[in-house]
């Protein structure tokens, strides 16, 4: 019953999205205020029904209703309750419903929190969100229905959730990532609405900025959580694999990062308009391309969903209509928009332009690296594959000038900057960064000049420069305490995010350089030494979990004879899916991780273990976290909540 109610709710949501896609947009062209006013209740209603549908699906999972195909294939009665809930978005169908829910959620948020927007613009934005909703709800409803039943024949037990997905990270990763992906739909809708109305000014940019920032915040968090999850769950200590699906989330992130920077120029200086609009379109277009790549089976990846050309075809047509249509509109409308602002070669505008160039180059590299095998093959040139070395090398070369510029950028004024006043502070920062980098490296066991030094230096340069800059600005307001409150939240947000980037760069460089790894054969009581740590295997015993069995190993870790920690590594065998999973034991500190995974049983009561010591690996995720926090701070800026009077009837009629 509840499942049918869920199906019905999704159908209602579809009907409402159709109305939302038609009425306010039509109303905006015939200047009908009542039609425009309908946008908000329609958006809220659509969200409500999507929410009911999701709850119905979760209910089906919690009650082990194996007549539902989706439940039977992705859950089991022995699955712990929290994973039964997350299993509801573990499959293609379920994750599509989650995607729809998020999309409707963003639409409702825009409807709720845009009192400052002119009615006409809001109606158009919600209408465009409605068009996107129609596409995705229809896809969920007709092409990948999560509520499909397999009556009259149904299994008595489900096939269980993929053990890879039975992890705490999986509870958080998909919802945050999707919030990010879908969030760029808001910036996209703002851009289209502006293209329709032909109004791009700093007011428009100020309206879009918080939405772009919010989407970027979630996407950053989502990618970071995904990386953390892979590290814990795949059992060999990697944190980024340049897998097509990861790349699919990285591309909108890069475009989105470029967008939030370009929006700053458009808001503050009223220029870069056509560029900003294109980025707003591109960020969401790349989310859609990503969804297509992951769900159509065009690319082979570890975590792509089951392939189905029918679904792929639908998504491709949808992509063509939405992205093709918006780019056509862009081509038709944008040539009438002119930017007047003037600026010199050495100015904040040029620095941000450089930032955009680097970010888009990075995006292009990921794009080509991901799709080149496809191009190559479809052109009849045979199969090739592009792997980690290509991406790593490219990003190595890109990061150096990017980080150098990032340290400089916030110091440079709008319009024009003299070089001489900057020489002294930047020289001091450079010296401080050098001392800091050498100091940290000297504390490591071996000094390796290459990557670690470069990474430390770049990271310290960006970090110190960001801190020094914010201190300087505070002092301009008189005392530091006075400045602390005077400086606006978005400035702190920027500083924090830049420090996050510095932390990330340091983490990557140090982990790459200093990770030590050993495969050992151990019996109970044996001790293995790695990087100054002594790992003693205390005990290995059998496990008995709710839906898995296996073995667990207990280890004691000492350093120079002093007790450090106790580690618990598991090797699980999931009974229903018949797969073996490694649950690595991780002891995390800011300066290093101890990482132990349990391998096969060897003859003679011995076990194979893989032991790793990974310095600074936490910094990678800490960096991502700081960037998201920076975005959160920037979102808290007061100027995004300043009210403008609502549109009068006259304005609507004139538009």
């Amino acid at each position: 019953m509840i499942v049918e109610a869920g199906q019905l709710a999704l159908t209602f949501a579809f009907a409402l999205s159709l109305l939302l896609a038609i009425i306010p947009l039509y109303g905006s062209f015939v200047a009908n205020q009542r039609m425009l006013l309908l946008a908000k209740p329609l958006a809220l209603g659509q969200f409500l029904f999507c929410l009911l549908a999701m709850l119905a699906l979760i209910y089906a999972f919690r009650t082990n209703d194996f007549t539902v195909v989706n439940v039977a294939q992705n859950s089991s009665s022995t699955l712990p309750w929290y994973y039964q809930i997350t299993a509801s978005f573990g499959s293609h169908e379920g994750s599509m419903l989650l995607w729809v829910l998020m999309l409707a959620g963003w639409t409702a948020l825009v409807a709720q929190f845009s009192k400052a927007l002119p009615l006409l613009l809001l109606g158009r934005i919600l209408g465009i969100m409605g068009v996107i909703c129609v596409g995705f709800i229809a896809f969920s409803l007709f092409m990948s229905n999560p509520f499909e039943r397999s009556l009259p024949f149904f299994p008595v037990e489900g096939r269980d959730l993929n053990p890879l997905l039975q992890d705490f990270g999986m509870i958080l990763h998909p919802p945050t990532l999707y919030m990010g992906y879908v969030g760029f739909a808001v910036a996209f809708a703002f851009a289209i609405a502006a293209l329709m109305g032909g109004r791009f000014d700093s007011v428009w940019a100020r309206w879009v900025r918080p939405w772009a920032l919010a989407a970027w915040l979630f996407l950053t968090l989502g990618i970071m959580l995904g990386s953390w999850w892979a590290y814990n769950e795949l059992g060999w200590g990697g944190w980024w694999f340049w897998d097509p699906v990861e790349n699919a989330s990285f591309m909108p992130w890069l475009a989105g990062t470029a967008l939030i920077h370009s929006l700053a120029v458009t808001e503050k200086r009223g220029t870069f308009k056509s560029w900003t609009v294109l980025l707003a379109l591109a960020a969401f277009a790349l989310s859609l391309v990503g969804a297509f790549l992951v769900r159509s089976g065009v690319l082979v990846s570890v975590h792509s969903f089951a392939t189905d050309p029918g679904r792929g075809m639908y998504l491709l047509v949808f992509l063509l209509l939405v992205v093709g249509g918006s780019l056509l509109l862009y081509g038709m409308r944008m040539n009438s928009v002119r930017s007047q602002a003037r600026y010199q070669l050495f100015s904040r505008e040029m620095m941000l332009w450089g930032n955009n160039i680097f970010l888009l180059t990075a995006c292009l590299i990921v794009f080509l690296g991901t799709l080149f095998p496809l191009f190559h093959k479809e052109l009849g040139l045979g199969s090739i594959s592009i792997g980690e070395p290509f991406f790593n090398q490219m990003f190595y070369y890109l990061t150096i000038p990017f980080a150098l510029m990032l340290g400089l950028g916030p110091w440079v004024r709008w319009k024009q900057q003299q070089f001489t006043p900057l020489v002294k502070p930047l020289g001091l920062i450079l010296v401080a960064a050098l001392i800091l980098a050498l100091g940290v490296l000297a504390s490591m066991q071996s000094v390796q000049a290459n990557l670690a030094l470069l990474g430390m230096l770049l990271g310290a340069w960006v970090g110190v420069s960001a801190l020094a800059e914010v201190m300087l600005r505070m002092r301009q307001f008189g005392s530091v305490t006075q400045g602390l409150t005077k400086l606006n939240a978005s400035h702190y947000g920027m500083t924090l995010a830049h420090i996050g980037f510095a932390v990330l760069v340091i983490g990557v460089a140090m982990t790459k350089t200093y990770t030590e790894e050993r495969d050992v054969r151990m019996q109970e009581g044996d001790t293995a030494t790695l990087a100054g740590y002594q790992f003693t295997l205390v005990d290995v015993y059998d496990l008995d979990g709710p839906n898995y069995g296996g073995q667990a190993a207990e280890l004691d870790v000492r350093k120079d004879g002093r007790y450090v920690t106790h580690l618990h590594a598991e090797k699980r065998f999931y009974r229903i899916q018949r797969t073996i999973m490694t649950e690595a034991a991780v002891h995390a500190r800011l300066s290093r991780d101890l990482y132990v995974s349990l391998g096969e049983e060897l003859p003679g009561n011995a076990w194979a273990l893989r032991i790793q010591v990974k310095p600074f690996v936490r910094w990678i995720w800490l960096g991502g976290l700081l960037m998201s926090l920076g975005a959160l701070l920037a979102l808290a800026d007061k100027r995004y909540r300043r009210k403008t009077p609502p549109a009068t009837k006259q304005e609507v009629a004139n538009a």
Binding site: L319, G324, L327, L328, G331, L374, E378, L602
Partner: protein
């Protein structure tokens, strides 16, 4: 001119969709085999069950056959044994190329031919034995030379020892009828 400039993103996007569309209808797993229409690479490998016998390419000349890359560790290979056995009964000559997984000296038990022979005999008894004989590719050199990317994979070799087809994935009735049977017919004509 400036006006056209703003249509560049659209043009690039349309170009992309052409590729995505054609990608949608081609199997991403299908790849051109480098060994196609070339003679079998040189090898001298022991028979799995009678290790004193060494197989070389010349000994395989004279009859068109399927070279099936497999291993007991590979569930799909075990699953296709049944249908392959049926094909053998229909008169198709099938030779097994046993693909042994690489071993980690610290993680895995040392290689034991006896254990492997037992394992293979047991699997073939359970699922059917389609093979005339099995060649043991312990170092995976022949597999590498042939461009094997995993198991199961099957090569069609003609009577002159030339590789005529390379199929990645399992062989089931549908694939046999649609893809391999016509090729097998074509190349087994004298």
């Amino acid at each position: 001119m400036r006006k056209l400039f703003f249509y560049v993103p659209l043009a690039l996007f349309l170009l992309l969709t052409v590729f995505l569309l054609s990608g949608l209808f081609s199997d991403p797993r299908e790849r051109e085999s480098a060994s196609l229409n070339k003679a079998l690479p040189e090898f001298a490998l022991a028979d799995l069950m009678q290790p004193q016998h060494i197989w070389t390419p010349e000994q395989l000349h004279g009859e068109t056959f399927l070279l099936n890359v497999w291993g007991t560790w590979c569930p799909t290979c075990n699953a296709e044994l049944g249908y392959l056995t049926e094909l053998r009964k229909q008169g198709v000559k099938i030779v097994g190329l046993y693909y042994e997984l690489p071993r980690d000296p610290t993680f895995d038990a040392p290689f034991s031919l006896k254990a492997l022979q037992q394992d293979v005999a047991q699997k073939l008894q359970q699922n059917g034995d389609p093979y005339q004989f099995n060649i043991l590719d312990l170092e995976r050199r022949l597999s590498l030379d042939l461009g094997v990317s995993g198991a199961p994979e099957t090569f069609l070799i003609d009577s002159n020892g030339i590789v005529r087809a390379h199929h990645i994935g399992d062989i089931n009735p549908q694939i046999w009828r649609a893809k391999l049977a016509p090729l097998y017919q074509q190349w087994s004509q004298p």
